[in-house]
Each structure stands twice: as C-alpha cells, then as structure tokens.
Symmetry: C2
Subunit: 652 residues, 2 copies
Amino acid sequence: MADTSNPLHSWFLGPKGENEQLLKELLASALQAHVDWRRSYHPEDPSPIAAGEQRTAAAVRQSAELRTEFEALLQQLRGSVPIFHGRYNGHMVSEQTIAAQAAYFAAMLYNPNNVSREVAPVTTRLEEEVARQLAEMIGYDWASCWGHLTSGGTVANFEALWIARNVLYHPVAARLATRALGTDISVSLPDGTRESLSDLDLWQLLNIRPHASLDLWEKLWLAAPGPIIESTLKAHSLATLGYQDYSRQLAAEFGDELQAGVVLAAGTSHYSWAKIVAALGVGTNQLVFVPVNAECRMDPDALWDEIESLTRKRVPIMACVSTCGTTETGAVDDLRRIVEVRARAEWELGVTFHVHADACYGGYAASLTRKPDGSRHTASEVRKACGGTDWPTDQWVRSISALESVDSVSIDPHKLGYIPYPAGAFLLRDRRGRELVSTDPPYLAVATSSESPDQAVIGRFIFEGSKPGASVAAAWLSHKTIPLNSDGHGRIIASTMKAARELYALLGSFDFAPLRVIRLPEPDLNIVCFLLHHPSLVTLSSLNALNEMIYRELSPDAEMSAPYMITRTKLTSPACDQAIEPLLSLMGENGRAYRAAIAEGLTVLRSTVMNPFSGDANPDHFPGLIDAVRRVAVSFLGDPSDHVAHFARGKT
Amino acid sequence: MADTSNPLHSWFLGPKGENEQLLKELLASALQAHVDWRRSYHPEDPSPIAAGEQRTAAAVRQSAELRTEFEALLQQLRGSVPIFHGRYNGHMVSEQTIAAQAAYFAAMLYNPNNVSREVAPVTTRLEEEVARQLAEMIGYDWASCWGHLTSGGTVANFEALWIARNVLYHPVAARLATRALGTDISVSLPDGTRESLSDLDLWQLLNIRPHASLDLWEKLWLAAPGPIIESTLKAHSLATLGYQDYSRQLAAEFGDELQAGVVLAAGTSHYSWAKIVAALGVGTNQLVFVPVNAECRMDPDALWDEIESLTRKRVPIMACVSTCGTTETGAVDDLRRIVEVRARAEWELGVTFHVHADACYGGYAASLTRKPDGSRHTASEVRKACGGTDWPTDQWVRSISALESVDSVSIDPHKLGYIPYPAGAFLLRDRRGRELVSTDPPYLAVATSSESPDQAVIGRFIFEGSKPGASVAAAWLSHKTIPLNSDGHGRIIASTMKAARELYALLGSFDFAPLRVIRLPEPDLNIVCFLLHHPSLVTLSSLNALNEMIYRELSPDAEMSAPYMITRTKLTSPACDQAIEPLLSLMGENGRAYRAAIAEGLTVLRSTVMNPFSGDANPDHFPGLIDAVRRVAVSFLGDPSDHVAHFARGKT
C-alpha cells in the first residue's frame, strides 16, 4: 500500500492513547530488564525477605493499603489539565514523546545521579551525548564547547550570567594577580590590537572579549605553577571577594569607583531574569530593558543606542540576553543583527560583552535548519521542509543559525523537545569559562588519566548538585529516535508552526461582529497572540477586563468544562510600546484613550499551538476555539459592568 | 500464624526484585487509568491517526526502530551502579520506595508543571501537603510557615540564604523608605527593647531578628497603600539596587562603609555553600568556617568566639548554617546549643542572624521523634523504637527536635526519603520572608479570592520555574503510605542507624593485622568513617595513598567487579583539627609526622549504610566488606611505593 503515514503519529501516545500498546510493551521490558539485572548481581546472596513473608497478614495489609492509596492518587490525577489534547493551546506544555516517557521510567529504576560519573557511569556518558546533540544542532564546535542538562531554563540562564560575570571581571583579577606575581602578559582588545595587561585602565579591563579573557586565564595557567596562579587569581576574583570587598579593592587600585555592571535584555525577556539578577547581587536596577520592535523582537537599533549611552556613562555591560522564542509571544530576535551590533560596538566604541541566547523555548527550531547529515539547509530548503510556502523568511533562518555565534545558549528539552519535566540545558561556546565557577567536592572522585576529564565530575562545574540521570536518558532516546534535523524534530516544529499560522489566518478572516479581533504580527514560532475589541469599551481597563474574562472562561477549571483552553499575557509599557502602538492604531478613537492609560499594560490572549497533532488533528478545533472566544466576548458585552466587577472580585 | 513480617520488606522492590509483582500491577493500573482518562476527554473528537495507519510499513519501521534503540538503552543501563544492593555502601543513594516509583511514573504521564496551579491543579495541592508533612515532622507551625519542593539541596540551601540576605538588609530599606514617606515606626531589638527605626544606627539595623524584620515589613504594608510601600521599599532594597549601588547608598546615608556580611558554617558543611556564596555575590571569603569538635559537629564554643570576634570588628552576620547529617560523616550538630548561642549573642551582644539547618541528609531522622498521632516521643521512647539500646542519646534527640526552632530547613526527599531524583525541599518558618524575593510572572494566573493565595502561583516565590509535579506525587504517596513517624520512616532510619553501628562495632573488633583500623567517633546517623594505618607509612601522603587505594579498589568499575563498594572523603585542616587530632594521637610516632603535613588533609573511608535491607539482609556483608578492605590494604603494603606511583598516575 502507499505509505501515507505521518511519522508524528507514532512518536506520541496520542489523544486517545492510540499508541498505548507500544508504550506498554516498552515499560514491561524496562521493568523486566531491571529486575533481571538485580537478580544477576551476586545471585548467590540470599534474599532478605523470608519465604512466605509476603503472604503474612501484615504484608498483605501493607500492599493493600498501598494499592488503595495509589488508586486514590490515580483518581486525583484525573483532575489534571488535558495538556495532551488539541483543545489545549495554553501554556508551553503538551504531549511527551513515547521514547522520552519510556526512557525516563527505565532509567529511573536505576536512579542514577548525574552529579558524578561515579554514581552514574551510564547516564553521565549519555549526558555528554545529549549536550553534543544539542550543541551540534545549534552549530557549536564540540571540540571547544561544553554543555549539560539542568532542572530547567531558570538554572540554565542563571549559569550563563554567573559565568558571564566571572569572565567579565576576570581580566581585573588577572591584572592584580600578574602584579602580585611580578609578571605581565599581553591581551587582545576588542578592536583587534594587543596591549600589555598592566597598561590597561579599568574600563579597558572590563571590555575584553569573553574569548580573550579566557585566553588570559589559559596563558596565566601556563605561566606559573597551577596552584599559585589559581590561588592568586582566586584571591582577586569577585567570586572570592564578594561584591562589597571587590568594589573596595577596585576603588583602592584604580582610584575609580566602579559603576554597577548591567545586563541588557529585551522588554519581553522571561521574568526569571529579574530573579536571576536579584539573586546574583547584580540588582534588578541593572537589568536594562531594550525596547522591542513591532514584531516583539529586540530592536537592534535601540540596542545600539543603549550601548552608546551606557558607554558615555562608563557603565560596563555584563551581558546581553537575546531571546529565541519569547515566552509571551514566541518572538525570535534577529540574533544576526544583535551579534553585528556587538561587533560594531567592539570596533567603534571598544566595548564588548557576553551574548547569551535564551532559546529555552525556541532552540529546537534549529533542527529545521539541519539536514540528516548535519549540514545546514538553505533558507529555501527550510521553506520546502515547511511545506513549500513562502515561510520562514531568510531573516528567520539567519536568526536561528546565528545561535552558533553567541557565547552561551539555554534550551529546554522539556518545552519543544517534548521531554517530561525536568529538562533544561545549558550550552557554553568556550568551555574554559566553566573553570571560573568550579568547586571541588571533597568526596566525589576527580578524573583519572584514563577518563575524559570533562564530565567525570560534572558536579564541579554546575550550579546544582544531585540531578536525575533519568531525564538525560529521556532526552537521549528521544533525540536518537527523533533526530535533531528536518526529518525529526524539524517536522514537529514545522507542523506546529504551520498550524499556528492557520489559526492566525483563521482569526483574521473570522467575523467577530459586533467585536473585532486585533492580531499581533504573524508568529515567529507557534504562539498566536490576539485580543478582542469593541468600540463600547472606552477605557483600557475595560478592554483588558474583556480579554481577561475570555482567558478566565477558557481556562482549566475543576471540571475541565471549558471547550478550549488558552492563556494570556500582558504587554508592558514602555518596553513594548513599539509593539503596542500598531495595535492601538487599529482601534481608532478608543486607541487614543488606551494610549493615555498604557502604563497598566495591554492584556493579549495567548495560544501556544505546540500539540504535535495540531497540524492535522481535528479541522473543527480552530474554528471551535475562535467561536468559543467570540461567545465569551459577546456574553461579556451583554453586561460588561457586571463582568468587570466579577473580574475584580475574582471568579467566585 | 504469628505475624513476624518486617514492614520494610514490602516498601521496596528488593535486591532480587522480590516485590516486582506489586510494582508491575501499580504501573499497569497507572497506564490504564491514564489512557482511560485521555479517552474520556471529549470522546466525540475523532482520532488524528487514520485507521490502519499504525500498520503501514513506515509506522511499523518507526516503532521497530524505537524498540531497537530502547533495547540498546536497557543494555547500557545494565552498566549502572548497583546502588539498590547491600553490597553498595557508597554515596547517599540506595533503593527507592515502590510507592515513589509508581507515583512518579503515574504523575509523569500527566506531566504537570508545579510552577503554577493553572497547569498543575492536582500536584500543586499535593505539594502543599508534602510541605506540610515535612513541616509537621520537624515541628514548624503550618499556619505561619511555608515550604515547597526543589530540584535538590543546592537550590533549597540557595533559597535559604537568598531569603536570609533580603531579610537581613530589609530594616535598612525600611528605614530609608519610612524617611522617604515621612513616617516612622518602632521595631523590636534583639535584647527585647523597642526603638524607633529612625533612631537606629546601621549596626543596629543589621541586627534585627528575622521575625522582627518581617514584622516591620508587615507594619509598613499596613501603614500606607501597598503599591507605594512596595515600590519605596523595593527602591531601597539590595535586590533592586544590587551590591554595588547598595554599598554606595549606605556609605552616603550612614557615613559608614558597610563591612561585607558573612555566613557562618561548620568546616564540614556541604561544598555547595561555596558555590552559593560565590553566586550570590557574597564571596567565598565571607564563608567563615567554624571549627568542628571531635565528633565532627560544629563546636558551639567556637561559634560563640567567632560571633564575639566578628562583633568586635563590626562584621554583620547574614546567617549561620548548621548541618543535620553532614555529607561527609553524617554528623548531627548540637542544634539546641547553636540556637542558645544565638540567644546569648542577642542578649549579651545585641547581635543576631538567620539560623538555617541544612538537614538535606538527616532531616528524615525527625520522623523517629514522632508518634503516630504526631506528638513527640521522649528520648527514652525514641531509644525503645530503636530497639531498646542506650542510643540515641538525649542530646541527639534534642538536636533533632531543635529543627523546629530555626529560621529555615532544607531536607532532601531524594536522600533518606528514598524518593527518586529530583526531590529537595525548602521550609521557611516565617512565611512572610518569601515576599522579599517574589516576582510576578506576567502570564501566570494570580490567586483569586476563592483559592488559597499561598500556592496558586508558587512560581512567584521560588527560584526555579518549571518543575515536575511527578516528584511531588512520588513524595506524597511515599509519605502517605510510609508515614513520617516512628512507625514509618522512623523504622527505616532506625534500622539503617542500627546497621551502621553494627558495622562500626565490627570494625572495632576485627583484627586487621598487620594493619590497624582507626575509626571516627560513633556515627550520629548511618555513615561510618574509618581509615587503615600501618606503622611503615611514615608520611601522611603514603597513609592517604593507602586509603585512596582502598577506596579505588572498592569503587564501581565497568564490570562492577568490586565485591563491596564504599567511598571516601577528606578531613581538612584547620577546620577539622579537633576531629583529626584524636585520630592522629592513636597513630603514635607516625601521628606526629602526619600532623606536620596535615595541610594536605586526611583521607578517610566512608560507608553510607542506608540500604533499607542492611539491618537484616545478609549477615556476611559487613564481615565481607571489612575483609575486602583488609585484603586491598595488605596487597598495597606488599609494594606501597608501586601503589603510590599507581595512585598518582590514576588507575590505568
């Protein structure tokens, strides 16, 4: 017969458990293999459980009690949100691959702890492979980069900034260390010239390229016995001194009061960045929001202006965070241009910084740019893989491909990798950076000469300690069977992006009368944002109340009675003004009133179309969702004041 | 028949998979329940998978490929470390409860994300219950405390210090905020007197009890409209300003250059504390190690001396970290005395600080102090529950019970809770502290009036973002069926502590001739540390090489050929001098030579006896382990120089 099957259909359990049999078989073989393994380990040892003990009244009662409580748990779990279903287009969560589910369970039975090879010889090796799979997908050179899995995007982003800060301040420590040792050393400046470290002023020391800062570290390492250099460098580092004494040391040394270093991020960057800068002691004041453009992407011109302005004020820049797939709208920054802006800053201003790509959501889109042999597709080949449309644009492909040129990248397998929680990943282009945050645990084995020194004690370099090898196995098997190229994960991404564009188009053509739909620009990935509007809503708070109400009515409740589920987010001013303005301009008279009140932000509805079956699941779902949105809105208009009060009270 | 069954025997899968049938049944019912649930959700929706599609050549090939790769994974997993077995007494990992394994799997199918109730209505509720179970076990009042699960101990400890720092500096922000608002407010000082906030100097502001600091926060909250207070407080907080500008603000305001705040921790505290203070910007220099006593517990007299000395230097103390079950030796600090030292510091010196108990390893020991009705056992009742011996001591019971009186506690369910990774927990005695680190995610639902406001958006208060509801379900079901009292987890703890003491006694009575065994003091929990010694080893490095060699030979290798597995750790000088000294004094002449070289540290062998079947599994195991240790040592002595070289090269 003609082979018309869709590969996506066998990768997931399916909305009706269509592939139940496959998962069931895999689970049974995992348990069998595990028990066989247990039995084959010193089979001569007697069992601690006496014959007949399992049939005593107490043992039988205990198992019965466990079964009862377990049934109660299963009953409770029926109240879960049906994220697996095409009717759910809310948060960034959906199906998990069967490969990931089965591998997670299989490895969990062995409970490996990936903090060290000593307790997890198998899954630490798999972790290297997963890191390599992801690194090669984005285009990092495995010979010089490093990566590992984290509990999620927050920790991955945290590690990026933690390392960036240490790399930024390292030349200062190096300068003080060389002086203490009576040596000097040359260093490459952003404009390409070389200078003696001792000739640089504080501003120059804080504007050394990450790679050059790490060259300095390596050179010093070779210049004197390791322990001496290490202790001298450490004695002058921020990690050792802490901010308070470090600032004092700089003031004494350079007669220059160091300005607080800042982190540049788009106005739509993830809320965790505020937590991260607060926790690191950087301070949320130092999180400088770069405005976004109409597409909700970081505006490269605004970025340049910000860099120029900071340079005039002699404010060092620790890092710039670009987002590949914002949590709010799925926008993909024009990363190529951001990297170009940094290059220009290096040449024209002598200023540089670490560029981190927060690709927690969108990172897997890079699989679309990869052929099965690992080489890159051209933009037109990518479009062909997406079904021969005029999309994605050359610029989109360039943005995604530019991930290879930034200093670090975070990608969450538990988002578009369809792996169960917890699975984040952190990738560092120049692996030497991890040395600046390393710690030596006293009781974990250090590498011996016959092992790869890189991963033997992963715990030395990561922020977390104990961590599940099971999630590594899940990502590994999933990537192995659904490869990170256009035949594997690329198909899933392409299919959900296509579905999202269908929803977007349908929203545009649907008649919402007496309301109107206002759509954000076409989605960069698979998140569709829009809002409903009616001329009678003369205040921004009533407009927001309408859309909040739609969101609440189309949210999970105890009975999962909403026919469809979506979420919402808030575009804030002034960071998102360029994105808000075109929306307001479509709302005529009202738009002007809204503009005056924009400090309260604009609520937009948000629909994450990441269900792998969205592309072909049920042709009624998108019309059904749109109709449900319209019906809630119409009922709201029936008595908006009542609803506003209702909303203000909460849904009681 | 007489019911002589051991409850521990049905709680775990067993070394030969004795309880395989029970686990298999639970897994099957979990999958069945999940698939039924999927099928019952909008059964009228058609399946996206066409009839016959699963039997097409491509679909069959795809599943076959997954089966093949899965088999290869299972084959690889056979190289895992047999941590489930009584022959493994290495790191802090062992069996997992069947309840936890089954519940993890069951909940993972629904993949709830406990960042928010909106995506995880069931498991966020269970997370509250788990937090409450743990809080009540240690003795916190659920009405005023807070808790949640983390990816592990590092993040839990990080959150403790993150909150402690914000609470410490809060009175300074409050003082600046009240001035900006033109108000004043009274505050309670450590010696019990009350003063106007505006009358306090910087030193006094940095020595307000955590509870009083939070009272201040609450009073201010009531004194003026929330948003005004919030923004004013925030504007003056360290989290907003960052260390650099905060220090400048203090210098300008108080004409006083603020000394860097320090964290007090025992010399044997977990290595993650160095990472945490480095990451927070506190600096590792500010991690002040308090010496331990002969039992490897923090020395309360040394703590007092340190506090006095810091007070003379006007160095503020951010927190004191006490350990309940050190990773290295399992030592349980005399927490009651540490709390008394703080009380004395408050009265005599006017100095106070946050006390955090790092009970990541030992926290579950508190279950031994609980009767089934939740009330406390007396010390003699605890001893009765432990088998009627003269152990544990009154002091041990007081130390464990004192967890109720500290400001925060971290406990890892994935250690002595026998839950699969990842499962840490953070408990905060005064829940208001979390407000000082909160962030509002723009797209997660905030609490409505009908919900408990505490956990609806757990993501506001925690460091991490997305996190697995599955690990919560695992802890919940395990605690439900193996309760946190002397009938449940207390039995496991008691049984492993008893086994550890048996190993300890056996080590003491065994004839190691021509070597001698030197044991550390009797274990506080279930970790037994010792080292072998021979008079011919005249240098400390040769002594350490002997014990490193024993460790290496009794470590997992590719074939798992070691008959028994243990680990090792290093006691460092000067932090552990009081613990090292009695050991050296047992080594006569050599001891003096070792003392001179003690800067390199003393390697000790470390055996974590946490296998739930250790108590009664196999009477040959401990003699076998001891004999294996002796045999490796004897072979080392055959040609120690060769082995030293061998060790220095690594095991090639």
